[in-house]
């Protein structure tokens, strides 16, 4: 299946019986392991730092699973009320849920319990961060293009599941901070038109907070969502194997091959080593940097709160969205429509996430490109996509900052009202400015690439001619570098012919085509192209100037 051109370690020439050890033979006779793995053992993976982002997500997930199992050995997911009599003195005799009491027990009375709690929490924060940055890498380099659209959707689903799983885990200890988070979630659910009240009563088993929610959430957190994540991660990885990893264009690296180092030994050692590095970083964090000190917050009670309450970072954008929304609410025909809750917590993330999930299909519709793509795009060569991505990051970033408006206000002595208004404006203005700047920068970089290809690299060496003219010496690029900078296709905007044929009959599907052409014009009309002809013309002209 795969032709390797390695100068070392080729396949053995003779086909005689190969000696194998009895254990492998035993396994092979039952599982066919040689047949199944012969093409996997030396499977090639391209190397680039940006390909490690998904690995960070995978490895932190493994750590989450392991530390999570440890925590379940002591955690008691119950909302039954108990009086605390553990070794944390400030809460002696305080009435609290068993969930909270058992979390205190893990933190103070189980050795390594605090460590595992902190490993679990830090790894979760890193997990979601890694998923998001990995997803941005895929987006900006066009790695979602055919044939990888399905894997994009799997990855997208994993991100959503990761967010849900994180929020569920954060809510389990039933401390004041996480209980407040659940209270907000219940308020959001209540705002859903028609079914909201019913959904809330079914989820919480009656009035908020009730007695059922933490045990239910526990099952969702330790069984349902992890099982889905494990299943989807497996599918995600199988697809990466089957479709082979994308790579950057470069000398010898084309759309038809994959160049890199083999799974055994190099990739195994590097990826396995990287896994332990991630483990090490998380354990150091867990040992040195405190996170989520639930004993300081106290048990959840619906009539108490502390100022400066902040969720885990990945919920911050929803928090900010809720905070900056104007207080619109309608009462129509005896029913309440809470736009002030509905729009920021369900509509805004709904649009953001739907757009993200469908982007590959939208882009394919605009380009009409149905070919397989295995070479990554440099973000500059897709200025509109890159601009939209940065606009999205800006939108998300403003929402996220808005979630900390009270912290920003108290730290920098600003008015929280003025800050909220600033964010209300920025959330619309910021993405537009970001798009425009990014697109300009990307096009500027394209021109710079063109300049480098045609005129070579600036050396910083200044020559003076006999006539007194100063010129900078440009060193021509190597053939490899020239190939790297010109290997991408310059996407041409879609040009439409006349809308009607000679008989005046309109082209079928004209409306959609026009829309597509307009999108295509917007996306590709200002791309910079460097042609062989330009290069040759300059070459030929050298003697004359």
């Amino acid at each position: 299946m795969s032709a390797t051109h390695a100068p070392v370690g080729g396949a053995s020439a003779d086909n005689g019986p190969v000696k194998t050890d009895p254990v492998s033979t035993w396994a092979d006779e039952r599982l066919g392991i040689y047949k199944g793995t012969k093409n996997l053992i030396r499977k090639v993976f391209p190397d680039h730092w940006s390909f490690l982002l998904g690995e960070i997500a995978l490895f932190s997930f493994i750590l989450i699973l392991l530390s999570g199992v440890f925590l379940t050995l002591w955690f008691n997911p119950s909302m039954g009320e108990v009086e605390y009599h553990g070794s944390y003195l400030p809460l002696q005799g305080v009435s609290m849920s068993e969930a909270y009491a058992s979390t205190l027990h893990i933190s103070f009375d189980v050795r390594a319990g605090l460590l595992m709690r902190q490993v679990h929490h830090w790894a979760a924060l890193i997990f979601i961060m890694a998923i998001m940055v990995h997803m941005l890498r895929i987006f900006f380099t066009g790695a979602f293009r055919k044939p990888r659209e399905i894997n994009w959707l799997i990855g997208f689903t994993l991100m959503v599941l990761g967010l849900l799983e994180g929020f569920a885990g954060y809510s389990l200890p039933d401390d004041l901070l996480s209980g407040t988070g659940l209270r907000i979630a219940s308020g959001v659910i209540l705002s859903i038109p028609i079914v909201g009240t019913y959904v809330s009563y079914f989820l919480f088993g009656g009035d908020f907070p009730g007695h059922d929610f933490i045990p239910r959430l526990f099952t969702i957190h330790v069984l349902l969502i992890p099982a889905l994540i494990v299943g989807l991660v497996t599918a995600h990885l199988i697809l990466v194997f089957v479709q082979k990893h994308t790579q950057w264009a470069g000398p010898g690296k084309t759309n038809e091959n994959v160049v890199g180092l083999p799974l055994l030994p190099v990739y195994t050692a590097k990826a396995g080593g990287f896994m332990f590095v991630i483990f090490g970083v998380v354990f150091l964090l867990a040992g040195l940097v405190q996170i989520n000190p639930i004993w300081a917050y106290g048990p959840y009670t619906p009539d108490q709160i502390s100022a400066g309450s902040q969720p885990d970072w990945y919920i911050g954008f929803l928090e900010g969205s809720l905070r900056m929304m104007p207080n619109w609410e309608w009462n129509i025909w005896g029913h309440t429509l809470s736009f002030n809750v509905l729009i920021p917590s369900l509509v805004v993330p709904g649009i953001l996430f739907t757009g993200l999930a469908l982007w590959p299909f939208f882009e394919q519709w605009v380009t009409g490109d149905k070919r397989e793509h295995h070479l990554l795009d440099r973000p500059r060569n897709r200025p509109t996509r890159t601009g939209i991505g940065v606009a999205g990051i800006t939108f998300y970033g403003v929402l996220w900052l808005g979630g900390g408006n009270d912290i920003i206000a108290t730290h920098f002595h600003l008015s929280v009202e003025a800050l909220t208004w600033t964010f209300r404006v920025l959330v619309f203005l910021g993405p537009v400015i970001a798009f425009w700047c990014t697109k300009r920068i990307a096009l500027g970089l394209q021109r710079r690439d063109k300049d480098k290809v045609l005129h070579g690299r600036e050396t910083g060496i200044i020559k003076v001619s006999l006539g007194g003219e100063f010129t900078e010496v440009h060193e021509p690029l190597s053939a490899g570098e020239r190939y790297r900078l010109t290997a991408h296709e310059v996407q041409k905007p879609l040009e439409l012919g006349p809308a009607t044929d000679e008989n005046g009959v309109e082209r079928p599907g004209n409306r959609a085509l026009k829309l597509r052409a307009r999108a295509s014009q917007a996306m590709f009309s200002d791309n910079v192209e460097t042609t062989v002809e330009e290069y040759k013309e300059l070459e030929a002209g050298h003697g004359h100037h």
């Binding site: 299946m1 103070f108 000398p251 050692a269 100022a307 429509l337 397989e372």
Partner: protein, 359 residues
């Protein structure tokens, strides 16, 4: 003459390396942007110098040794560093020493193990790039034809197309199948009924201090203070205490009559529902239900720390900033024969977040 003249002179006859190159000088002249092929393998120091390789070997082994020490150290620390010993470090704050020791031991054990493996891969494992061809994901024509014919044969053998009665009844059954999955969840919770419209407050229900359980008197609330109060009945039902509290928690303030704002009618209502200016408001934010908590005594503004909804208690709890859409509901109160503050009735409107049926 410019510097660009050196261009073709610098182009090697064959720019490809390690036998992969395809670009000859002629081809490059034809298409200067052509792929020159993989560059020649550049050996590392460890490939050329056996001493360097030996050194790398020792470094890798040392890292694995550090890992061994860390792993054993973690068990020693687990056993001997007391879990209740804390120490304060500059920059770290007060830390649990057992946690710190375990984190450091295991952290460095993992880092050294990972670092060792990576260093081994980078210095000693063969790192010559391999090239593997890609093949289109699409099945070849032969496979497609075979699979399609097999599938058609299977369908034909089943008679799925031949017996529409079977087909339609099966599809209907399959469509119905997901319904019980939802139906059977009915007992997850009770129907909301009008639970969201009622709290524990009732005529004559005492306002009690949440900490002491003692009844609250008007004299307990001087101007400028903020007091919290629960219904006395909260203690009667420990099983549902938190659920009841989530709707019934109130805050009590005293406002001078001249501080009241708004229409005459509103001022009269607000004063009538108070006891000499001592008035009770729901503590549950009308946005998404956080307890409002930050009181500005000069302006009588009440701020919710969750999303900064700000209510003006002197203006009937109206929203003056933030995402909340409705005023904080006021609880009408009076005094009983013993001078204790008591509710006149339940809240006259639902407290807390909006919901569809609220109207």
């Amino acid at each position: 003459m410019t510097d660009r003249d050196m261009e073709t002179d610098h182009l090697p006859e064959n720019t490809g390396g390690a036998g992969h190159g395809t670009l000859t000088k002629d081809a490059a002249a034809e298409n200067p942007f052509q792929d020159p092929g993989l560059p020649a393998y550049r050996p590392r120091v460890t490939d050329l110098d056996p001493k360097a390789a030996k050194r790398a070997e020792r470094q890798v082994a040392l890292l694995f040794l550090v890992s061994i020490v860390g792993i054993i150290g973690s068990m020693v620390c687990y056993t001997f560093v007391p879990n209740d010993r804390v120490h304060t470090f500059t920059g770290l704050g007060t830390v649990n020493m057992n946690n710190l020791a375990l984190g450091l031991c295991l952290g460095f054990a993992f880092l050294a193990m990972g670092g060792g493996a990576i260093h081994w891969a980078r210095t000693l494992m063969t790192d010559v790039d391999l090239v593997q061809e890609r093949h289109p994901m699409k099945s070849d024509a032969e496979s497609t034809a075979f699979a399609v014919s097999e599938f058609k044969q299977g369908v034909a053998d089943s008679g799925f197309t031949k017996y529409p009665l079977i087909r339609r009844s099966l599809l209907t059954a399959m469509l119905l199948l997901p319904l019980p999955a939802v139906w059977l969840l009915r007992d997850l919770g009770p129907l909301p009924d009008d639970n969201l419209r009622h709290t524990l407050w009732a005529p004559g229900e005492k306002l009690v201090n949440p900490n002491t359980g003692q009844p609250l008197k008007a004299s307990d609330v001087p101007t400028g203070t903020l007091a919290l109060a629960n219904p006395a009945a909260l203690a009667d039902d420990p099983e549902n205490r938190i659920d009841n509290l989530a709707k019934a928690a109130v805050l009590v303030v005293r406002l001078p009559q001249e501080a009241l704002k708004g229409s005459e009618e509103q001022k009269k209502k607000q004063w009538d529902w108070s006891v000499d200016g001592v008035m009770a408001f729901s503590k549950i934010c009308t946005h998404v239900g956080c307890p409002v908590a930050l009181y500005e005594q000069q302006t009588h503004h009440m701020l919710c720390p969750c999303h900064q909804s700000t209510f003006d208690l002197s203006d009937d709890g109206k929203v003056i900033f933030g995402p909340a859409a409705r005023s904080l509901p006021q609880l009408p109160i009076t005094v009983d024969a013993d001078g204790n503050l008591v509710a006149v009735s339940d809240f006259r409107e639902p407290v807390g977040p909006s919901f569809w049926e609220r109207g």
